[in-house]
């Protein structure tokens, strides 16, 4: 009788994709022999839905550095086999914001930073560790490097060390350059990312007329 499928645990949902007829897109976690794998799925039967799902999967591969499972088409996983789900959820939502024509390519590890008035660089130190650096001449560089590092720690659930405030590390100990590039601009302004999350979480919440904005 039911049409819904057991797709695993849904860890994120794009409720209305503006680039594909407002279909919903879910990101599901499944356990495979390779570890945790992830599936992008929509229950929409719209004719454009399959291609949109493919675009999102391609985005997760090309932008977030995931890999497709050869034996199980449609499933992707991190090369380390780990979860990194907070970062993955954020990456999924960021990819969903883009039309198919704009999805693709690893984002750079160098970005201009308005607050520091210079470029910030993410250096890979190996074993999953990364340092955020700024030119020596940038007066606000060190402070912004620490702030961006904290941003990464929050967004990607990375480990940080008080003795090295500009260094963060993935718990798996593996490189995730693409993921760092994908979330770099978010790490530069974590507050807006958190506000966006709160807004998305509250969307669709029914409220009594008397407690709604603009009502006397």
């Amino acid at each position: 009788m039911g049409l819904t499928r057991d797709l695993g645990r849904r860890i994120e949902l794009k409720s209305m994709d503006p680039h594909c007829h407002d279909i919903s897109l879910g990101l599901y976690r499944q356990q495979t022999v390779e570890g945790s794998s992830y599936l992008v799925h929509t229950y929409s039967a719209h004719e454009d839905a399959p291609s949109r799902v493919s675009e999102i999967v391609r985005g997760l591969v090309e932008v977030a550095g995931m890999v497709s499972l050869a034996e199980q088409p449609g499933l992707v996983t991190f090369p380390c086999g780990g979860r990194h789900e907070k970062a993955l959820r954020r990456s999924f939502l960021e990819v969903c914001k883009l039309p198919g024509s704009e999805i693709g390519g690893v984002l750079p590890l160098v970005r201009p930073d308005k607050k520091a008035e210079c470029e910030l660089t993410i250096e890979s130190l190996g074993a999953g560790s990364y340092r955020v650096t700024a030119p020596a001449a940038a007066e606000l560089g060190p402070r912004r490097c620490q702030a961006v590092s904290r941003g990464f720690a929050k967004l990607c659930e990375m480990d940080s060390d008080e003795s090295q405030p500009c260094v963060v590390r993935f718990g798996c100990g593996m490189e995730h350059d693409a993921l760092m590039g994908a979330l770099f601009f978010r790490a530069q302004n974590v507050r807006s990312a958190m506000q966006e999350d709160e807004l998305a979480a509250s969307r669709g919440t029914l409220a009594a007329p008397g407690s709604q904005d603009g009502n006397p």
Binding site: G2, L3, S24, G26, S44, L206, Q212
Partner: protein, 88 residues
């Protein structure tokens, strides 16, 4: 609405949803705990599943019933609330 297990009676599956809910409301034995939602049930995924989206499902009777039915067919609720009236 959930009824405690101490009211469980016969073999699960012996009662229809209607029988189960009415029995629970009457304080009579039930085959399993009924699960009802007196308000409407609608998610974006269910809307995609049966191609009955808001706001059309608020106004079109056929879409409204198709979406409302999913609370039973997909989620296994013992109730269906057939009307969506979201006032915002």
């Amino acid at each position: 609405m959930v009824v405690g297990d101490d009211q469980a009676a016969a073999v699960p599956g012996e009662m229809t949803s209607r029988e189960r809910v009415l029995a629970a409301l009457a304080g009579s034995p039930v085959d399993r705990t009924p699960v009802c939602n007196p308000t409407s049930v609608a998610t974006v995924e269910l809307m995609d599943l049966v191609d009955a989206h808001f706001p059309d499902a608020n106004r079109d009777a056929e879409k409204m019933s198709r979406l409302a039915a999913t609370s039973y067919t997909e989620l296994g609720f013992d109730s269906v609330m057939p009307v969506f009236t979201i006032i915002q």
